[in-house]
Symmetry: C2
């Protein structure tokens, strides 16, 4: 008999992340794990993304917050199913919480699930949820020096969204320096520059995402 | 014989926080624990504060970062002693790390220690360091809706600094709504509105802080 030794919370999380992955693969559902500091614009970005893929895909959102349900209410207002997870103090989502939320969705009818993680540029990067894509947002107002101070998030993410580009003229933000720093840490990262306020850059991101989601559906059909 | 049961990391932290408090009391040193999301402007705010109290007080800074030393270099550039703590992945400072840093300072000659916590609006609020004041910064760019989503930080802080007020005209930020929400959660909170970029509001904050630091010195002499 084999005995598996769990080395603490990371191993336990990894096992459930794989279960989530298997669940999503069976239904051909694409899952995005969206992470950022508080106030970088995750919910606004999700709303813009849902709008951008509307008509082609059926979507659902899993909202991770320490407390409250303001974000899931914003999502529900536009008629998209939103499941709220309150972590009750914990600063990141774990795979088991997402597993519970996935169990409440009729995954066969869902093409794209966006998980809004707790606002935190540190710990969420350590916990795999079974996602297809780790997407992080950096707001222009946070400054271009963040990658060196929060390296795991910038090196683990498949996509970096630079949000609030409409604020660039009012700050000392150096976009080229940011991109250079992040590409040194994470050469394969995809970078999109957007302003959820003006809508600039959203269609390029949505176009790219649609190709990925379509790919997942095609694989499941074959 | 009494046996003390430590209920995990919080109790252990509390014991060392009390040691730090005793150390600071002996030397009449005032300590500020400065917390915020990444990029809310902690280091710029410290630089402005040091400038504002220069001449009257002898200061030192303890810099908490996951990795790197860019912030302590910025502090050292203006001739103030800065001690860097790298948490190596951990998303908050604990009292034991601050205890080590305090041991490296000649506290008898230091009136004011500012601790820059790791950029995180969640976990730092749970770990007392032995500080006189918990000060949090919210940047205008983060939005006025943050108190309900990160309640512990807003209810635990003695002071809330609203930074980047120069960005208010370019955002949908509702300052009055923010203040109303925070005062409901935390009626005794002191609120200062500043722009580290333009310098607006800094002198009011520094004047208030100076009164507190002077009070601590006066108590030690009596």
């Amino acid at each position: 008999m084999e005995i598996e030794v769990l080395e603490g919370i990371f191993d336990a999380n990894e096992i459930i992340a794989k279960e989530n992955r298997a669940l999503l693969d069976r239904s051909g559902t694409f899952m995005v794990n969206l992470m950022s500091s508080p106030g970088a614009g995750k919910t606004s970005f999700i709303l813009k993304t849902l709008e951008g893929v509307e008509g082609e895909f059926s979507c659902a959102v899993i909202e991770g917050d320490i407390a409250g349900k303001v974000d899931s209410e914003r999502i529900a207002e536009i008629g998209v199913q939103a499941i709220q997870i309150n972590t009750g103090g914990s600063c990141h989502l774990e795979a088991r919480q997402v597993n519970t939320a996935l169990g409440r969705l009729d995954l066969g009818g869902v093409d794209l699930v966006v998980v809004e993680n707790v606002g935190n540029l540190v710990c969420p990067a350590e916990f795999r949820l079974g996602e297809d894509l780790k997407v992080m947002i950096l707001s222009v107002a946070e400054g271009h020096d963040k990658p060196l101070k929060y390296p795991l998030m910038f090196s683990e993410s498949h996509v970096m969204i630079v949000n609030k580009t409409d604020l660039i003229p009012h700050t000392d933000f150096d976009l080229e320096l940011l991109k250079e720093t992040v590409r040194k840490m994470n050469p394969s990262v995809e970078i999109f520059e957007v302003s959820c306020r003006t809508g600039e850059g959203i269609s390029a991101w949505c176009g790219w995402l649609k190709d990925r989601v379509r790919g997942t559906r095609a694989e499941t059909k074959n």
